[in-house]
Symmetry: C2
Subunit: 591 residues, 2 copies
């Protein structure tokens, strides 16, 4: 779809013919070491493949398309425009935008100005955005025209609105043109290379299910290390030729929002791989879209279809079409699944239409996106789907970019010399997931106390509870606060959900503790029925509940079986797709 429209970049977007893609050396430059910085990749892509299409923004009123040379010039213009606006090294630049050229530019242009990119989730409420703008101390705001309502009235810092047109009269384009003029054609040589690879790169805010969002700041070194290995780590070991070939060859369809943990470093790694990126909005996501997209581009390509941020109705749209064997995708596509373990259902359904599911786990921007992966083993081929699903549900083992993952008995908060002791590898003993190394965030921004707590014991403390299996794979049991204490026993809500999801008519399920006069707490399950089976139970939800409880009794200990089952049309979720158990708990206490 990308090549079928005509578009002319603004005059300010056209690089001079004698452009040299080299930054000004920092004063401490050395011959045999240079600071790791993901900015390098746009410079070399423009140098090596100036005329290759780099960025496509289709399916909007004003579709645009930029080559690497043009895109690089726009990025440079943005850097100069920010410097002209007074942005200093280390300053924060806020961006509020869906996947679009604006936020794609910002991933490179902001760090070219040696500032810190602060991407803000477009699904937040104005009050949350106001808090983030205040806390981050952002000195300028770049915003997409569809999200100007998120800007607090009376904001004192400059606000630049992109109308997403790519035309010279667009305020964002005016900003870029001003940057170009301000550069006085000093080009890249007028911008100083950041001398410190541990300088801040991105400041993302958690969409915490409780409390104020926390600012997570990452480093240039971390982003560079993570991106250079992420693709290989995630993928090389799986033998997914199509995924790799596609990264190589061309077409990266970015569905994961770029504001989400800086798009897991894909905004830079796509450039590293000289890929053509298409910035699609999540709104467009559907199976037929996938189908069209994959058919519409070169032979080898890949869709990074991240399932996490899909609201349930999108996932439903996708899966509804799975039952026609004629509707397979034209080639295998890797579905990177995060946020929740894939169920046997989901795996079967994905495989049925040509997806290869890969399960990853991470703590959003705190770990630069995922940092563990479920590495499938050769002998799994001989297992039943359900056994395979049980193994695939584990969070697996650490990426090469992490120094490892451990499950430990957490020390007391006031322990001055904490020693982390590993739980035995028995698949039973519950401990806390911890990790460390280059892909742990620099710190919680302006929150030394939270940083100290998070790093207590010399590791990043995830707060997620897990077991370690004999083969060294970890399996998340629960967040500590989600455990259901039923008759004195600890019931893992995740384990309950996994077993309930194995019922063939369940699409999504969530279990929370509900007060019980005799047992203290008992599990209550909220279920979304699979659309293919929903009709069967219409008006008979009570019978479905009975059926599901019977299913549970064959698979769970009595204390973990749901006492109550409620069929619902949807589940409350955060803007990034996490189920808000806090909301469900508020409901159950009133029942």
């Amino acid at each position: 779809m990308a090549a079928h429209f005509t578009f002319t970049p603004t005059p300010a977007s056209i690089p001079p013919s004698n452009v040299v893609y080299r930054l000004k050396d920092s004063p401490n430059a050395s011959v045999n070491s240079h600071p790791l910085n993901p900015l390098d990749f746009i410079l070399r892509a423009a140098q090596i493949y100036p005329d290759k299409v780099a960025l496509v923004h289709p399916n909007v009123e004003y579709p645009v398309q930029y080559t690497f040379a043009v895109w690089a010039q726009r990025i440079q213009n943005l850097a100069y425009a920010l410097i002209r606006a007074g942005v200093k090294p280390g300053d924060r630049v806020a961006v509020i935008a869906p996947n679009s050229p604006l936020i794609a530019d910002a991933h490179h242009g902001v760090i070219a100005a040696r500032a810190v990119l602060t991407p803000i989730n477009t699904r937040l409420k104005p009050s949350e955005v106001a808090y983030i703008l205040e806390h981050s101390g952002s000195s300028i705001i770049l915003v997409d025209y569809e999200y100007t309502h998120l800007i607090p009235p009376g904001t004192r810092v400059p606000v630049i609105v992109s109308k997403d047109t790519g035309r010279a009269d667009d305020p964002y384009e005016t900003l870029l043109a001003e940057g170009r003029r301000f550069s006085e054609e000093k080009s890249w040589g007028g911008l100083v290379a950041e001398p410190d690879e541990n300088a801040g790169a991105v400041l993302c805010y958690t969409s915490g299910t409780t409390g104020r969002p926390k600012g997570v700041i990452t480093t240039l070194r971390g982003e560079y290390v993570e991106l250079s290995l992420l693709l290989l780590t995630e993928v090389a070991s799986t033998g997914l030729g199509s995924y790799l070939a596609a990264i190589a060859n061309a077409f990266e369809c970015q569905i994961l929002p770029m504001f989400h943990a800086a798009g897991w470093t894909f905004p830079w790694s796509n450039v590293f791989a000289f890929a053509k990126q298409a910035r699609f909005s999540l709104k467009l996501f559907s199976y037929s879209f996938l189908n069209v997209t994959t058919e519409d581009h070169a032979q080898d390509r890949k869709l990074h279809a991240d399932m996490e941020p899909l609201p349930p109705f999108r996932r439903d749209t996708l899966l509804r079409s799975t039952y026609s064997p004629t509707r397979r995708l034209p080639q295998n596509v890797t579905a990177v699944i995060a946020g929740a373990a894939p169920t046997a259902h989901l795996i079967a359904e994905l495989e049925n239409i040509g997806f290869k599911p890969v399960h990853v786990y991470g703590l959003t921007s705190v770990t630069y996106g995922p940092f563990t992966r479920n590495y499938d083993q050769p002998h799994w081929e001989n297992l039943s789907l359900e056994e395979r699903a049980r193994l695939m549900a584990r969070q697996g083992q650490a990426f090469a970019t992490a120094l490892g993952v451990r499950v430990v008995l957490p020390p007391a908060d006031d322990d001055k010399n904490p020693v982390l002791r590993d739980v035995p590898r028995d698949g039973k003993t519950v401990g806390e997931i911890v990790t460390r190394g280059n892909i742990v965030m620099k710190e919680y921004f302006r929150d030394p106390e939270a940083t100290r707590k998070a790093f207590h014991g010399g590791y990043f403390r995830s707060g997620d509870l897990a077991v370690m299996h004999p083969d060294g794979t970890i399996a998340v049991v629960d967040r500590s606060k989600d455990i259901i204490i039923s008759g004195g026993e600890n019931a893992s809500s995740l384990a309950i959900e996994l077993e309930l999801a194995s019922h063939p008519h369940v699409l999504e399920v969530c279990a929370v503790a509900r007060p019980h006069p005799k047992w203290g707490e008992r599990p209550m399950a909220f279920v979304i029925l699979h659309p293919q089976h929903a009709n069967k139970w219409a008006g008979r939800h009570h019978e479905f509940a009975k059926d599901l409880k019977e299913h549970a009794r064959t698979r769970l200990p009595g204390f973990a079986c749901p006492e109550w089952v409620e069929v619902v049309p949807e589940l409350p979720k955060t803007s990034t797709g996490k189920i808000l158990k806090t909301e469900l708990r508020k409901i159950v206490v009133k029942l």
Copy 2:
């Protein structure tokens, strides 16, 4: 061929069932940063895929085969054995071996002992080896039984001979078993992680065509950065699905000697990708071998067929079989060509049998192997083979791991504040190739004066002369000492060789200056005839010379046309395959 023999590793090679793949933290360990170290990858491969075959050594009297778990234990044993032998952090450990488990182990085990690997070229003379052992101050020597004659008599440091059997009575296996005992089963936790990512990793010696070999020391950071990006850099942008898929999937056939620039980091990157490595000796290399090898392994695989170190008769063996269209390789294979630009002939012949040639350029271990690549452009598809070859002969542009490549007017040696000025991008003005960044060596070992000279101007000074084309690609013109000054004009011997090689009957050609009474110097060409055409000219070399000179006159200015042409059966080369022009010059001055 690998799986068809039975082999049992020694008892000392079997890891305990409760092995934990984690080193002891260095004292300055931090939560959110860890020193880059390619040792990490064997630990995680053994953790994630313990039972996967990691290392195969076939086609020898005692074939061996190790899984990642077993190999990791052997590496650990080696580290402890070295420590037991008194090896301290920073000490050098010499290894003299062809591609075999010994040198594969050493790439990991030596750095696990925090020592510096010193691999020695097996093709050197005993006097050269003696010099390297002396200069490096190696504190222990590990040597393959076929190369014990290279050890100077009376060597005072311990020498361990591997009989390459993998059996318990092999002296090398005895060493490993002693290491295991010495460890007292403290396993990986008894080895301290190297805290400094800039610590020395490998000390390779140049096989300089003049003078004493120089010791080139690299860093752990450099090896890690280079390896993590090398594969993608070399390959991702080319869309070579088969190459990538193969890295992912399994089978790395290592023909490049591991002693050559530490195998261009492939000894570690193969492990990173969980690949099965086969350690083949160069001696075995032939087309039928390639064919068998590629047919013998999983669907997706790749051969890293490095053409550089192939002696001419090997290359000949390979190419002799090109003319039967039925003898194509069973799938496309990437041929990474270094050391000399591929000629149109070679490209055609390689493509004809299913090789995809990729031309890279580097300065051996000084740049961790290649650091530029010829990035093929989409529009080349429409060019004639000869035009394409002319473009592919350029050395291209910098890897992502380098900070760039420049062609500059070199400052005077005594310039205290040297400023490097780029030559114009005109494809004509000759300057010196310089580069800098993470993949420039740490220094010349124990030679601060040579280091100072090599880094003069803030860049690594390659000594290679080149032009910069308008598209930013570099093309090597010559080593400064190889320029032929003919009638006052500077004739590039490389340019002459390139044009002469376009004659369809030329397999290899070398041009050097020969004194001339009138013109000062004139080019003399030494030619190896293509085996398919050699018969035609048998006994008629004089007529061939005439034919070639006519060919030259249509393509070269008069001063660059060879005045003399001599057909030879072979050319004098260094142990790494570089033509020894010094030897040819010695011949011509006597003519």
